[in-house]
């Protein structure tokens, strides 16, 4: 249970009581229902006591009876804060005015921004701003008075080329986010008569013909180059076939990974040889050992021709060869890790061929070797749903 400390609610006074009868003072306070807090002894005949403001004024007769004296050490609480404020009315009024101004300014529109994922023309942007101003969304407008939801509906009604609009408060401004309606590019719509053929061997999963006559059905297996939609109308006249065709294409990739990996890693030991080289490839070692100091190494060779003056080059070159020692490191990966590595390599190879936006319908993995084999091969097969129709002019 927590101790009752409710005296701090309005205000309290910390007093120092001194005199021979401190115990008497405490007992008289207790019997007079004066609630004392934090009574601490600070000297032989002196104690610090915390008492509420209302009880403070009842202490005088008790002090007289107990023969103690009182000295105020500290005043705290809301009561004293308010009484201090009463003496500084200007500060209080100033703070209140500041608060009012702050609240008002925080609700005023300082800027109106138009945002779109695509670039907007200046004229369209101006039209949008003019419409926003007409709806009351302008600099200086009072934010709570704006009905942003109905403004969104007004925008959609007024501009038919807007597909989506969102008007939100953003800091001290209003942000209008819009997405323009974009139609298919005219150059993407074929004008010349032609057919749609299969771009890959696949099984047709979706076919929606806009123009032309479908030559295949859903679920039918087609070969690359097979006619899918014929570019003829109902009267047999040639037209540009148009259709959405999706098919399931099977991709397969094999990859392998040894269970024991052998890597050549550099040990950090290096040797440098500096030599002079003539045109006939004769080398004279100027500095360093003649023989390569390591059994297993990689080397880096840099040749610097000696320039006499501008383009006058001497037939001698300085060759700097850096030998870096290597050591073979054998790591036993184990079957599981080897298979995992092989799988990720196969997947990486497959993803290179799969077009963007395709959907993986099925994925299967086959281990081609048993667990005892040193080389683990896997076969990853993915069935992908993708656009398989290709327009071909007559």
């Amino acid at each position: 249970m927590a101790a009752p400390f409710d005296i701090n609610r309005y205000g309290y006074v910390e007093i120092s009581v001194s005199g021979a009868g401190i115990e008497k003072f405490l007992n008289l306070c207790a019997s007079d229902n004066i609630r004392l807090r934090f009574v601490s002894h600070i000297g032989p005949d002196e104690a610090i006591v915390t008492v509420s403001v209302s009880d403070f004024y009842r202490l005088r007769p008790i002090l007289r009876l107990s023969g103690c004296r009182l000295r105020i050490r500290k005043r705290s609480g809301l009561l004293f804060i308010f009484s201090a404020m009463a003496k500084r009315k200007g500060l209080v009024i100033g703070a209140f005015i500041f608060l009012c101004l702050f609240v008002v300014c925080a609700n005023i529109v300082f800027s109106v921004e138009i945002e779109s994922p695509y670039e907007l023309s200046f004229s369209f942007r101006d039209q949008m701003l003019a419409k926003a101003e007409e709806l009351g969304i302008k600099q200086g407008a009072y934010l709570p008075s704006l009905d942003l939801e109905s403004a969104e509906a007004d925008f959609l009604r007024s501009f038919h080329n807007i597909m989506w609009v969102d008007i939100v408060r953003s800091g001290a401004g209003v942000k209008i986010s819009i997405v323009e309606r974009t139609d298919a590019d005219e150059k993407d719509i074929p004008n010349n008569p032609g057919n749609i053929i299969a771009s890959k061997d696949c099984v047709i999963t979706d076919i929606l013909v806009r123009k032309g006559q479908a030559m295949v059905e859903m679920g039918e297996e087609v070969k690359k180059g097979q006619l899918l939609v014929a570019g003829i109308d109902a009267f047999g006249d040639p037209i540009a076939a148009s259709a959405i065709i999706r098919g399931s294409v099977v991709y397969e990739s094999e990859a392998s990974c040894p269970t024991v990996s052998r890597e050549h890693r550099e040990t950090g030991r290096n040797k440098r040889i500096i030599a002079a080289k003539w045109l006939d490839d004769d080398q004279l070692i100027l500095w360093g050992e003649k023989e390569v100091p390591f059994d297993d190494f990689v080397s880096e060779r840099k040749e610097y021709p000696l320039v006499l003056w501008r383009k006058s080059i001497l037939p001698v070159e300085i060759v700097i060869i850096d030998y870096r020692e290597q050591k073979e490191q054998v790591t036993n990966l184990g079957v599981d890790l080897a298979r995992k590595n092989a799988e990720s390599a196969a997947e990486k190879a497959l993803l290179r061929d799969i077009p963007a936006g395709a959907v993986v319908a099925e994925r299967s993995l086959v281990y081609l070797d048993n667990e005892d084999a040193d080389l683990q091969r896997v076969c990853l097969r993915m069935t992908i749903l993708e656009n398989t129709g290709e327009f071909r002019e007559f």
């Binding site: 249970m1 101790a3 009752p4 401190i22 115990e23 405490l26 007992n27 306070c29 207790a30 019997s31 229902n33 609630r35 004392l36 807090r37 934090f38 009574v39 601490s40 002894h41 104690a47």
Partner: protein, 95 residues
Amino acid sequence: MSEKSRKRLVSLVDALDLPEDVGGEFKLTLWGDGRLRLENHKGIISYDPALLSCAVPGGHLDFGGDGLFLMVLEPEELWIAGKLSSISLFLEGEK
């Protein structure tokens, strides 16, 4: 209340199975060695940071320790905080 009346009241409280503090008995609640609450006390006898003596019905309680102070002092209860090391109860008539 005289000692005789107090004993009668305690007997009545026992008979009616009421909480003991209703009958004027003091109640001491201790939280570790840093805080205690004493209900139904009869006042402070002596007060010192090392020894605080409180009157209770039928005797007095001495609290020894270090840096003891009265956190709350009210007519019915008091709270003592600080480092408590001993609590002694002295009943009237005992030496």
